[in-house]
């Protein structure tokens, strides 16, 4: 018999190397404490049967647990309690906890495997204003109380974080401001009882703009139909960019004026 040396010629692998899975909670704890795995013997000495029996399984040492006819009542337990039921229940609980922990470990490993690393902040000098503000915001909210007691940075605006947590619709609390509720309900009744329709400034402005656009288009269309398809196409694209900008501006101006 001869010992072969390590292969010097590198050959390509069949499949890519497996990704190392993160250690489970027990493995982390064991590494911390320095606990090492002890190999258990498969056979155990059974005193009663006076022979080596297996640790678990068919004819195990200590007898078949299903045939255990005696269950001692422990010292501080309730005498009325059914001990057999207690043992069965505890076994079921242990099995369930084990299964839960196993699934948790799997989920942790899976999450670690598919975790997308956060976009790294550029080295100094290259950060943009938005990047910095975003990172500062994330850092502020990453406290146990979600940033509520976090002091503001010197140049930061004093905007409190949205209590709704980014939700768009807010619902008022049921039992709060009675006066506000009363006024709101009365205003609603007034609107319902009104004969004439209410004027919504924004909608009126938009409608007017659309009308103007349509008229302009009709007029231009008559002129361009003689020129042909090409003219109409160019005119259409140009029109949309200009007019939509104007609409947006109008929208912003009007509410400011009305409110």
């Amino acid at each position: 018999v001869a010992r072969l040396p390590e292969p010097a010629f590198r050959l390509p692998r069949e499949k890519p190397p497996p990704k190392p899975r993160p250690p489970t909670r027990w493995e982390q704890f064991a590494r911390l404490k320095g606990i090492r795995r002890r190999k258990r013997t498969s056979l155990v000495w059974d005193e009663q049967a006076k022979e080596w029996r297996r640790r678990w399984g068919y004819r195990r040492a200590g007898g078949d647990p299903a045939r255990a006819w005696l269950a001692e009542v422990p010292a501080g337990a309730d005498p009325e309690e059914d001990q057999f039921a207690r043992l069965r229940r505890e076994k079921r609980e242990r099995v369930a906890r084990n299964e839960l922990n196993r699934l948790r470990n799997l989920a942790r490993a899976h999450r670690a495997g598919t975790a997308v690393p956060a976009a790294p902040l550029h080295p100094t000098g290259h950060q943009s204003r938005d990047e910095l503000s975003h990172v500062a915001r994330v850092a502020r909210v990453s406290t146990a109380s979600l940033g509520r007691f976090q002091p503001r940075l010197p140049k930061e605006s004093a905007e409190p974080p949205s209590r709704s947590g980014g939700k768009k619709r807010r619902f008022e609390p049921l039992l709060g401001n009675l006066a506000a509720e009363r006024s709101r309900q009365l205003a609603l009744l007034q609107d319902m009882g009104r004969k004439k329709p209410v004027l919504d400034i924004t909608r009126a402005v938009n409608k007017q703009l659309r009308q103007e656009e349509a008229e302009a288009a009709a007029a231009k269309g008559k002129k361009q139909s003689q020129r042909g398809k090409r003219g109409r196409r160019q005119q259409r694209t140009g029109r949309s960019s200009k007019k939509s900008g104007a609409r947006r501006q109008q929208q912003q101006q009007r509410p400011a004026g009305s409110g």
Binding site: V1, A2, R3, L4, P7, F9, R10, L11, P12, R13, E14, K15, P16, P17, P18, P20
Partner: protein
């Protein structure tokens, strides 16, 4: 484990899938020997002989498969996935490329390298009448000719041939079991493959006298087309996990 269709319901299925998943220390590479649409007697005999050499780490497909590996690799990749083989030998014959043999390997069930060789002369196992060595013997590979070091394509071919004929990698070996020698020579643009059986004869001192007896398949090959993996893909396939080092 197991992303694919469903979780294994039996232990046997689980073991089957565990055998195929990527591991730190990999299994011995299996080879699949496939016949092309128009495979003649020579090519079939070559495939059968190589199968005999590579047993049990080879799969010989009996039916003809009408594909062209150089144009479309999907059917090869499908076979590789189904039979968990990372090496393949595809034999075909047509007027333009007579007695064609495509030897190749896969990485992650995708084709890594493919080299097309033409068979000029072939002497099969049956034709050489003497005793053969037992099935599954790990051969010793000898590469003669500096073309194998100098030429890039020949270097890849050497690596491919080593991969193909290596067999299981073992830490120690019984000296009496070293019976089979495969000798490759690259000369004048041709590649000669010869197989010899090692006979250990009695000699005066402790080291026995070695005699080589010609046995087994001998091939005269000519390199035709190649489809080699790009450098970075090749480097990626060579990467070994840190745990092994």
């Amino acid at each position: 484990l197991i992303c694919c269709y469903s979780k294994p319901k039996t232990k046997r299925a689980k073991r089957f899938l565990e055998k195929r998943e990527p591991k730190l220390k990999e299994n011995t590479k299996n080879a699949m020997l496939i016949k092309g649409g128009n495979a003649n007697l020579t090519v079939t005999e070559v495939l059968k002989d190589i199968y005999a050499v590579k047993k049990p780490f080879a799969v010989l497909y009996k039916k003809k498969n009408i594909t062209r590996p150089f144009e479309d690799q999907t059917s090869l990749e499908f076979f590789s996935k189904k039979s968990d083989c990372s090496l393949f030998l595809f034999g075909s014959h047509n007027k333009k490329r007579p007695n064609n043999l495509i030897i190749g390997r896969m990485f992650d069930y995708h084709v890594l390298d493919m080299i097309e060789l033409g068979i000029e002369k072939f002497v099969s196992l049956k034709d050489v009448k003497n005793s053969k060595c037992p099935e599954g013997t790990k051969p010793m590979l000898i590469f003669a000719g500096d073309t194998f070091e100098v030429n890039e394509e020949y270097r890849r071919l050497k690596s491919l041939l080593i991969d193909f004929f290596r067999g299981p990698s073992v830490p120690s070996i019984r000296l009496a079991g070293l019976e089979y020698v495969l000798h490759f020579t690259a000369v004048d643009g041709k590649i000669y493959m010869r197989s010899y059986k090692v006979l250990l004869k009695k000699s005066g001192c402790k080291i026995p006298r070695i005699e080589l007896e010609e046995m087994g398949p001998s091939l005269d090959l000519v390199m035709r087309r190649t489809h080699l993996a790009s450098d970075d893909l090749y480097k990626l396939s060579l990467k070994q996990p840190k745990a092994l080092k």
